[in-house]
C-alpha cells in the first residue's frame, strides 16, 4: 500500500513483471515436482522386487546368530539359480573368508550384526543395507560380471571400521549354462 505509491515507474514495472513471473514459476515448479514424484513412485511400484535391493523385513530377534543350519558367508542353494548368503557382521569382519557366488544367479544376502551397527555396501553395485543387531536385513542382487567385489562397511563401527572389507568372488557361469539360456 504505502510502497506501491512510493515506487518509481521503473521499479513498479519490475515489481509487476516479477509478480507475474513468480506465479508462472510456482506453477512450473508444482508441475515439475508432481511429474518427478509420479516417476519416482512408478519406479518404486514397477521395480518392487527387481532393482530395489534393500527390501525391508520385520525384525526377527536373534534368529540368525543361533541358527547353525545357515553357515556364515557361504552361498546356499535355495532354488533354481538362486542362493542365499548369511552374514553376521562383527567388529571388524564380515565373513570367515572370501565369499564365492555364481555369475548370473540371484543372490540373497541375509545380514545381521553381532555387536554394533555396520553398513553392508558392495562396491560397484547398489547393495546398501544397515546391519542392525537383532534384526535381519534382506537384499538380493544378480552379479552380471565375474570378478572380485568388495563388501565395505559404511556405517561407523569403531576403531578399525575402515579395515572392515571382505571380498566377494563372482565365479564365471559355466559356458554350457550360458548356451542354455
Amino acid at each position: 500500500m504505502s510502497d506501491l505509491s512510493s515506487m518509481t515507474p521503473s521499479e513498479r514495472r519490475f515489481y509487476e513483471a516479477g509478480e507475474r513471473q513468480e506465479r508462472i514459476w510456482v506453477f512450473i515448479v508444482l508441475i515439475l515436482l508432481t511429474v518427478l514424484t509420479i516417476i519416482a513412485m512408478l519406479y518404486v511400484v514397477i521395480d518392487y522386487n527387481l532393482v530395489t535391493k534393500s527390501g525391508g523385513q520385520t525384525p526377527v530377534i536373534g534368529q540368525m546368530t543361533t541358527d547353525q543350519a545357515q553357515p556364515e558367508g557361504v552361498a546356499v542353494e535355495t532354488g533354481p539359480n538362486a542362493y542365499t548368503v548369511s552374514l553376521v557382521a562383527r567388529m571388524w569382519r564380515w565373513a570367515p573368508g572370501p565369499i564365492h557366488v555364481k555369475q548370473g544367479a540371484k543372490i540373497t544376502f541375509r545380514v545381521t550384526s553381532a555387536d554394533v551397527l555396520h553398513g553392508f555396501e558392495v562396491q560397484g553395485t547398489d547393495i546398501n543395507l544397515t546391519a542392525v543387531p537383532g534384526e535381519i536385513g534382506l537384499v538380493s542382487h544378480v552379479f552380471r560380471k565375474p570378478g572380485t567385489y568388495y563388501i565395505i562397511c559404511n556405517e561407523y563401527c569403531g576403531l578399525m571400521h575402515h579395515a572392515m572389507a571382505s571380498p566377494i568372488i563372482v565365479d564365471p557361469a559355466r559356458p554350457e549354462a550360458e548356451a542354455a539360456q
Binding site: M1, S2, D3, L4, S5, S6, E11, F14, Y15, G18, E19, Q21, E22, W25, V26, V29, L33, L36, T37, A40, M41, Y43, V44, T52, K53, S54, G55, G56, Q57, T58, P59, I61, G62, D115, V116, L117, G119, E121, Q123, D126, I127, N128, L129, T130, V132, P133, E135, G137, L138, Y150, I152, N154, E155, Y156, C157, G158, L159, H161, H162, A163
Partner: protein
C-alpha cells in the same frame, strides 16, 4: 510515506544501557559460536586429507588418538555448538531490534549458560577419548555420560529462544493490533517453532535412552528406535541451520545490495512450507535400514521431494531480488546485473557465493532423497559431499557474511581488512566446492564416509579406492584451501574484535520488500491488515501451521514406532575405540 496512514503507535525505544546489554549478549553468542567453528572446522581438513590418503593423525597423538575422535569433535562442534550459539543469538537479537522490544534477558542468558555448560561437558567427553561415537552417536556404540548429558544441555538451551520470541511478538501485537508480524520476527518464530517441535525426537532419545544407559541405570537400548528418534530431529536440524541463513537472505540481504526484497509474502510461504515438510521426512535417512516397508519408502520419497518446493521458491525470489539490485546498480543484459552486484562488500560476496553452491548442493539432495538412487550413494562420501555443499557452505558462509556486519554493529569497530574478508569468502567458496565435488564423485565409486581410509595399508587402499584417486585428491586439495579460508576469516574475526578501528556502529540492514508490506517496523507507519497481502495474512496464524506440521509428523511416525515397539531388539553397549 502516504498521508492517509495512521501514525505509528508509540514504540518505546529501549534505553541505551538495555541496548548495550543486548549487544553484549549477542556478541557472546557470536564469539562462542565462531570459536566452536574454529575448533570444529580447524580439524576438518585433517578429515579431508584422510581421503586423499594423507594420515596426519599419528603426528597429533598427544591431542587426538584417532581420526574418529577428530571426526566426532568436527561434527559436534560444527553441527551443534557453532550453529546453536549463532542461531540462538541471532533469532532473538534480530527480532528484538526489528520490533524494538527488549527480549527476556533472563531466558536468553539462561539459553547461553545452559548451552555453555553442555559444550564444556561434551568437550571433556570428546577430548578424553571416551566418546568417539561421532556426532550421530548411534547406539550400541557407547560414550561417556558427560557426552550425552552435554548434548542434553545443548538441546535444552537451544529451545529457549521460542518463549522469548512468543513474548516479544505478543507485546508487539498489543501495540499494533491487526498487523501481520514483521518478516524477520515471523521467520525467526517459524524456525523456532519447527525446531522446538522437532527436538522431541532427540530429547526423548537422550533422556529416555542414552542418559540412563550411559549411567548404567538401564543396560540395553533398542538401536532401531534410537536411530529413528535421532532422525526425527536429525533431518529438521538441517532446516534449523538453514532457515536462519534464509532470514538473512530474505530479511537483510536486499538492503545490503541496495535493492529490495522481491516478495515478503513468498518468504513467509517458504518458511511455513519448510515447517510442514521438514518434520515428517527424517526417516528417509533410514532407507537402507531393515524394517521399513517398501510402501513407506514410497511415501517418504513423495514427502522428501516436496521439500524441494520451498527451496525452488527461494531460488526464484532471491534471483529476482539480486536481479533488481543489480539492474538498479546499472547492470545490463542477461547476466550483467549479476556482475553489477556489490561484490566488494565481503558480507554480500559471502552470501551470494553461498547461494551458488546451494544450487549444486540442492540438486544433489534430490538424489539422496529418492530411494533407488540413494541405494547407490547411501553412506558413501556422496552424503557428506552433499551436506558440505549445503550446510557447510550456505550456512557457514552466510553466518560468516553476517559476522562481517555484526562485528562493526555490535562493537563499533571496523573490520581490520576488507580484502582479507573477501579472500575468506572466495577461498571458502572455492575450497568447499572443490571438496564437495570431490566427495560426491568419490561416493559414486563406493568410497564410504567416515572411514579412516588413510590408515589402511597402501596395498589395501589402492585395491579398494585406487579408481577414485582423482576425486579423492580433490577432497584433500579442497580441505587445504579451506584451511587458508579459515586463516583469513579468523584474522578478520578476532583481529577486528580486538584491534578494529573505532567507528560509528552501523545499523542492522533490515530490508524493505516490494509490495504492500515492508519488512521492518521500528520507524514504519502502521499497515492496516486489509493492506497486507492475503498470502501474508494466511501465513499469520503460526500455531495453526505448527499444529498442521505436528499432526503430519505424528501421522508419519506412529506407524514406524508402532512396529518397532512391538519388535524390540535390545542391545548392550559397546566401547569400540
Amino acid at each position: 510515506m502516504s498521508a492517509h496512514l495512521s501514525t505509528p503507535a508509540a514504540v518505546a525505544v529501549p534505553r541505551p544501557d538495555v541496548l548495550a546489554a543486548e549487544r553484549r549478549m549477542m556478541l557472546a553468542f557470536l564469539v562462542v559460536g565462531f570459536s566452536a567453528l574454529l575448533l570444529g572446522a580447524g580439524i576438518g581438513p585433517l578429515q579431508a586429507l584422510n581421503y586423499s590418503g594423507h594420515n596426519l593423525y599419528p603426528a597429533l597423538r598427544p591431542f587426538f588418538q584417532s581420526y574418529y575422535q577428530g571426526l566426532t569433535i568436527h561434527g559436534v562442534m560444527n553441527g551443534y555448538v557453532f550453529t546453536f550459539f549463532v542461531i540462538c543469538g541471532l533469532l532473538v537479537y534480530l527480532p528484538a531490534r526489528e520490533l524494538g522490544i527488549t527480549p527476556n534477558m533472563t531466558l536468553w542468558r539462561g539459553s547461553f549458560v545452559i548451552m555453555l555448560i553442555g559444550t564444556g561437558l561434551v568437550l571433556a567427553a570428546m577430548f578424553d577419548n571416551s566418546s568417539n561415537v561421532l556426532w550421530t552417536f548411534y547406539p550400541p556404540l557407547k560414550g561417556s555420560p558427560l557426552f550425552y548429558f552435554g548434548l542434553t544441555a545443548l538441546g535444552l538451551g537451544s529451545t529457549l529462544p521460542l518463549p522469548i520470541l512468543l513474548q516479544m511478538r505478543s507485546a508487539w501485537k498489543k501495540q499494533r493490533p491487526g498487523e501481520v508480524t514483521p518478516l524477520v520476527t515471523y521467520m525467526a518464530l517459524i524456525t523456532m517453532l519447527m525446531w522446538d517441535v522437532s527436538t522431541i525426537g532427540i530429547m526423548t532419545e537422550l533422556v529416555i535412552q542414552m542418559d540412563p544407559w550411559s549411567l548404567g541405570l538401564i543396560h540395553t537400548v533398542d538401536p532401531a528406535i534410537s536411530r529413528t528418534l535421532y532422525w526425527l530431529t536429525g533431518h529438521p536440524i538441517v532446516y534449523f541451520w538453514l532457515m536462519p541463513a534464509y532470514v538473512s537472505w530474505y530479511g537483510l540481504l536486499a538492503n545490503q545490495l541496495g535493492g529490495r526484497l522481491a516478495s515478503d509474502a513468498m518468504g513467509r510461504l517458504t518458511f511455513v512450507l519448510m515447517l510442514i515438510f521438514s518434520l515428517p521426512v527424517g526417516s528417509h535417512h533410514q532407507f537402507a535400514d531393515p524394517g521399513f516397508s517398501p510402501i513407506w519408502r514410497g511415501i517418504l520419497v513423495v514427502l522428501t521431494m516436496s521439500v524441494a518446493f520451498p527451496s525452488l521458491i527461494t531460488a526464484f525470489t532471491m534471483g529476482l531480488t539480486l536481479e533488481f539490485a543489480g539492474r538498479k546498480r546499472g547492470g545490463k543484459g542477461i547476466l550483467g546485473w549479476f556482475k553489477a552486484l556489490p561484490w566488494g562488500n565481503p558480507s554480500v560476496a559471502a552470501q551470494v557465493l553461498s547461494m551458488l553452491t546451494f544450487v549444486i548442493g540442492g540438486a544433489s539432495g534430490m538424489v539422496n532423497g529418492s530411494w533407488q538412487l540413494d541405494a547407490v550413494v547411501h553412506n558413501t562420501t556422496f552424503i557428506p559431499g552433499h551436506f558440505h555443499m549445503t550446510v557447510g557452505s550456505v550456512v557457514a558462509m552466510t553466518f560468516m557474511g553476517m559476522a562481517f556486519w555484526l562485528i562493526p554493529h555490535l562493537t563499533g569497530r571496523a573490520l581490520i581488512s576488507r580484502r582479507l574478508a573477501l579472500a575468506a569468502a572466495w577461498l571458502w567458496f572455492i575450497g568447499m566446492s572443490t571438496f564437495g565435488i570431490g566427495m560426491q564423485t568419490a561416493g559414486l565409486y563406493g568410497v564410504p564416509r567416515r572411514a579412516w581410509v588413510s590408515a589402511l595399508p597402501h596395498e589395501a587402499f589402492h585395491t579398494l579406492y585406487g579408481a577414485a584417486h582423482i576425486p579423492m585428491a580433490l577432497i584433500g586439495i579442497g580441505g587445504v584451501i579451506l584451511w587458508l579460508a579459515m586463516i583469513c576469516f579468523y584474522i578478520v574475526f578476532f583481529g577486528s574484535l580486538l584491534f578494529g578501528r573505532k567507528i560509528e556502529a552501523p545499523a542492522i540492514p533490515f530490508a524493505r520488500a516490494f509490495g504492500r508490506s515492508e519488512s521492518y517496523s521500528l520507524e514504519r507507519p502502521a499497515v492496516p491488515s486489509e493492506h497486507t497481502s492475503s498470502l501474508a495474512r494466511a501465513m499469520e496464524p503460526v500455531w495453526f501451521w505448527t499444529g498442521v506440521a505436528t499432526l503430519i509428523c505424528a501421522l508419519s511416525y506412529v506407524p514406524i514406532f508402532w512396529s518397532f515397539l512391538r519388535h524390540m531388539t535390545l542391545s548392550p553397549g559397546w566401547v569400540a575405540w
